[in-house]
Symmetry: C2
Subunit: 308 residues, 2 copies
């Protein structure tokens, strides 16, 4: 019998990940490329490299607000170049297979439900922690059909202006972008930290990874950056618990690597804030699929559609 | 054929409403009583007055966190006296019919879906605006099985301490309790307002109704109290839109009477904050059932259970 495959894409604000995935959920080939500049070109190139005989379709998870029926990106504050149908229509035309578009955090939730930790739960919330913050919800074993823009809950009503147009969004205080921005501003104002020595002294090149490494090296400044972001994440997690009372919260994305400081602080803060009875029964876990959650979920969109 | 009825209860933080309801959703008799002191006794008395031949069961919507499977209140910050199974078991025993327990805002959402404005929508969020703030969600035509404690989203991370244990909850800034508390504090500090003359000069007896009446009379102080609460409600509504992207938001509860100032301000604020594409397609409407939403939804729990 002929083997069938799908190409799964996870188009985040900073990186594009793509994979060739079998019907059993095996990742046969992976690609990673920067996405911030020319995300459309990066996407087209990745599909070209992965396309093979037996590919039934392409699932594309992208950071932003999606119209799944029409298969396009309505709005992507961090990747405006992919808004509209243009790039997705171009892929449809060039490769002659269906292209499904979904929000990338929602795709990651689907990936977790298909092949990851999420298999154990009927109801869970996935929060993706990267440059931005996204969310996807599995409710009664299916993906909740809602925007789930968890990064754009206001947690400080009169706070900073967000690229989405609102103020005080969770993403402004708890994401990778937030940590780097806090660190750079404080270093500009003369804060003491070993971060000044990294990146050949160019503080504008500091990454979340540098901050975590410095924190593990005992840098008080970096620990506080991570802790503060973690506390705000905990504020958001508490609201998510009070609203969804999920069985589990799965955390995915690059920042999960900073579990010991950032996430631990978030869990502590959430435990102080969420309804005690709800907090006690929720499990807060890292995504078991790591960077593959998004590409697996996106490719599952193809297999799901075929089976229904 | 014998006619069947249910008793529907809406046990809020300030008032208890109860009704005898027919299978067709007709309210045959209504009772209203204060609930803040002795909610259990008020509940028992109301059921006693309404109980009649043909009553299949009792549906009880109560402000708080509910265990629907066990039919009890887990936690009710504003009505701690009804926590546990005690009062519900006593009613079961005395009247010999099933007693279903649900959160009262969720019951109101169900009421709207059964007999109100909600019939027109497959996906909507009901926000109850009274002493506290509650929420109920209809997702794909059914009640979303989640805590939906929308009043306990943090909108000001480092804000005031809430009775739920968290800080900066929406309810602390946008509810009737919040308005009265703001007004009293400002009046204590010497703010000028015609409110000083109401309640025989006893500012501690000011009600949300007094504030709205004064605002309509041109009292600047009262208008600002309503507007400020409305702006915070708008912050919460924007987050609800960004998370649930509902077709509609139905507003119920006593504060909906202050639509022209309070709710209009909330809609304006939400329009500035929510994702534009989501705001444009959501309808924000008052509950068409008014105070009956809760009792109708609670009684529907009885009929629903019978039909499945």
């Amino acid at each position: 019998m002929k083997k069938h495959y799908a190409i799964g894409i996870d188009l985040g604000s900073t990186n594009l990940r793509a994979a060739l995935v079998s019907e059993e959920g095996e990742v046969l080939k992976r690609i990673k490329a920067p996405s911030a500049e020319g995300p459309g070109e990066a996407l087209m190139k990745a599909v070209g490299e992965l396309f093979a005989d037996g590919v039934l379709g392409i699932g594309c998870g992208a950071a932003g607000l999606i119209d799944t029926d029409r298969g396009l990106v309505i709005k992507s504050p961090n990747l405006p170049a992919i808004e509209g149908a243009g790039i997705f229509d171009a892929i449809r035309e060039k490769f002659g297979v269906p292209v499904f578009v979904e929000n990338n955090a929602k795709a990651a939730a689907l990936g977790e439900k298909w092949r990851g930790e999420g298999r154990a739960f009927r109801n869970f919330v996935l929060i993706s922690l990267g440059t931005g913050i996204g969310g996807g919800i599995i409710y009664n074993d299916s993906l909740l059909d809602a925007a789930t823009e968890l990064g754009h809950m206001s947690i400080i009503a009169n706070g900073e202006k967000c690229s989405c147009g609102s103020y005080g969004c969770l993403e402004l205080y708890a994401s990778a972008k937030a940590m780097v921005s806090r660190a750079v501003t404080a270093l500009e104002h003369g804060s003491e930290s070993i971060l000044k020595e990294c990146c050949h002294g160019n503080i504008y090149k500091v990454t979340p990874g540098d901050i975590y490494a410095a924190a593990l090296d005992g840098d008080t400044f970096s620990r506080e950056i991570l802790r503060e972001a973690g506390r705000y994440l905990g504020v958001g997690i508490a609201s998510v618990i009070n609203i969804f009372s999920p069985e589990a919260i799965l955390l995915s994305g690059g920042l999960v690597g900073a579990w010991n400081i950032y996430v631990q602080e978030a869990i502590k803060e959430a435990s102080r804030r969420a309804f005690k009875e709800l907090f006690e029964r929720v499990k807060i876990l890292p995504s078991s699929l790591g960077d593959d959650a998004g590409v697996l979920g996106s490719s599952y969109l193809v297999f799901l559609c075929r089976s229904t």
